[in-house]
């Protein structure tokens, strides 16, 4: 997709009137970061649901001390 096509897509999808110049860098950064996610997703397990992250925080914590939360 060219930057002009991306700008047209943004306009049609979100109603935001952008120029190809405005979106060139955001689109490039997004593409690079998406590639990082794809690379990690190919290597690491994806079975977890997002909420498992909260359980993992608790699991990785040291034993609790102090009184129950407010």
């Amino acid at each position: 997709m060219t930057d002009r096509e991306r700008a047209d897509w943004i306009r049609q999808t979100y109603g935001i009137d952008v120029t190809p110049e405005m979106i060139a860098e955001p689109a490039r950064i997004s593409a690079a970061n998406s590639a990082v996610v794809r690379k990690l997703a190919a290597r690491l397990p994806l079975e977890a649901e997002p909420v498992d992250y909260l359980r993992e925080l608790e699991a990785m914590a040291p034993p609790a001390t102090g009184s129950e939360g407010k």
Binding site: M22, P26, N33, V37, L46, A48, E56, L57, K70
Partner: protein, 470 residues
């Protein structure tokens, strides 16, 4: 009686308890300093002196009548202008929110109120908390009290400036990609991004619900622990908050750190460190060695990827909040803000979802790598000396996104992980601007971070020097 503007929050609270001075006297001193310096530093979004003094008088009356007083009773604080309070504007640094009157009060503010603290001003911030430098196209750049030509860091720019300049005794910031730790690093403050889920975000302006953290910026380590103690703990209004017990952070903060094991990640953090910053960072490790800690080299090759993962989540979620407003009010957003939000419109749903699902396994891998044989992790903060406002005035020009992400590359990974991470002052560069290092810990182990930071503070006096502004 003159009151030292750089008195610690803890000493100010103790002084009120003892009757050395009143809350009104303390508030008058802060208001006088805001009057003298607020415009020069451009850190104040709004202040109502009559209201602040009336609140202080009520605090004094309560103390005189023998009512139980909280640990922060009568101490003037001020907060980033994104913590909602019923009956008060929260502009969030944005033109389109200039008259926004929230219908709720942030849990963090309610808890500080319950601890007796006074909330005397709203502090400037980067528009919608989206920017690491402190620039704001609508309200202007907030100025660094150490040198007004230099950035405060953002997005909690007013919090950094106001606390460092002694205008108030502490402030709340928010940290989605470094917005507490960056201004703390630039302004010579202690800043804590607590564990994701330790502090409620209810009633705080949302930017990225997966990454937003609420935490304090203060002049000392103990002050920071005092403020965090007041706001931490489960909140039914924020379902991501943990029901875990909140420890007494001050109970262990003075404990010895002999035998403590400090992990230093050999990947990523040293890659682009400026020589002067590297020397200060290494000197802080030498201090820890002298204090009896052991430095443990560790590897975590995925660290660089965490910068990308943080950006995927923050961009996607902030764009989700703002897509409709961007269409309706495009010209009333700052150029940089809308440019950053545009990036979020390009992430496929699959990418966003995978970034979320990878969070648990990556957190597990990180904790195993970093803390299997260590108690805390030490890392640099900014990898360059604090830059000037002019040097970082990118607006949305070529390369602006990359430059902004680059500035906080050492700081952003910890938002994706959600582990507690704090900024600790580490002396000054040759230009007289503060430097800083970070300490990160296991989830919900803020107590060990405070103990480690406090040991450094005791040994070096790193929080004893203040900017000369008068």
């Amino acid at each position: 009686m003159n009151i030292d503007p750089y008195l610690s929050l803890e000493a100010a609270a103790a002084g009120i308890r003892r009757g050395d001075f009143t809350a009104v006297r303390l508030t008058e001193a802060c208001l006088s300093r805001i009057d003298a310096l607020g415009d020069r530093l451009n850190c104040i979004a709004g202040v109502d002196p009559a209201l602040a003094l009336a609140d202080a008088a009520r605090a004094d009356a309560a103390r005189e009548s023998g009512k139980p007083a909280g640990p922060l009773h009568g101490v003037p604080l001020a907060h980033k202008d994104m913590y909602y309070r019923v009956g008060r504007v929260s502009a969030c640094g944005a033109l389109i929110r200039g008259a926004y009157q929230p219908q709720t009060t942030a849990t963090a503010l309610s808890r500080l109120d319950a601890a007796g603290a006074l909330d005397i001003a709203r502090l400037n911030m980067v528009e919608f908390a989206l920017g690491p430098t402190g620039h704001n196209q609508h309200t202007g750049a907030v100025r660094n009290p150490w040198n007004r030509a230099h950035i405060t860091g953002g997005s909690s720019s007013g919090s950094g400036s106001a606390v460092a300049a002694g205008l108030v005794f502490g402030a709340l910031g928010s940290d989605t990609g470094g917005s507490i730790r960056t201004p703390s690093a630039c302004c010579g403050l202690v800043g804590m991004k607590p564990t994701y889920g330790l502090v409620s975000r209810a009633g705080a302006m949302p930017l990225s619900f997966s990454l937003d953290h609420v935490g304090p910026l203060t002049r000392t380590v103990r002050d920071n622990a005092l403020m965090l103690q007041a706001i931490a703990g489960h909140d039914p209004r924020d379902p991501t908050t943990s029901r875990r017990a909140v420890p007494d952070f001050l109970a262990t903060i003075e404990d010895d750190i002999r035998g403590l094991r400090i992990a230093v990640c050999e990947d990523f953090f040293g890659d682009s460190l400026d020589d002067e910053v590297a020397a200060l960072t290494n000197a802080s490790l030498d201090v820890y060695r002298r204090l009896g800690a052991t430095i443990v080299p560790v590897r975590f090759p995925d660290m660089q990827d965490l910068v990308a993962l943080t950006t995927v989540l923050s961009s996607s979620e902030s764009a989700g909040y703002h897509a409709d407003s961007l269409a309706a009010d495009w010209d009333r957003y700052g150029h940089q803000t809308r440019g950053r939000m545009l990036a979020g419109l390009f992430y496929p749903a699959v990418t966003y979802q995978q970034a979320l699902k990878l969070r648990a396994p990556i957190l597990r891998a990180f904790c195993k790598a970093m803390f299997a044989d260590a108690d805390v992790m030490h890392a640099p903060g900014l990898d360059i000396p604090v830059p000037t406002i002019a040097e970082t005035d990118h607006s949305d020009g070529p390369g602006f996104l990359q430059a902004l992400i680059r500035l906080t590359r050492n700081i952003r990974p910890f938002n994706y992980l959600g582990v507690p991470t704090m900024a600790v002052p580490a002396g000054f560069t040759a230009s007289g601007l503060p430097s800083s290092f970070q300490l990160a810990g296991r989830p919900f182990d803020e107590a060990t971070l405070y103990r480690t930071a406090r040991a450094y503070e005791r040994a070096t006096g790193c929080t004893d020097t203040h900017p000369q502004l008068d």
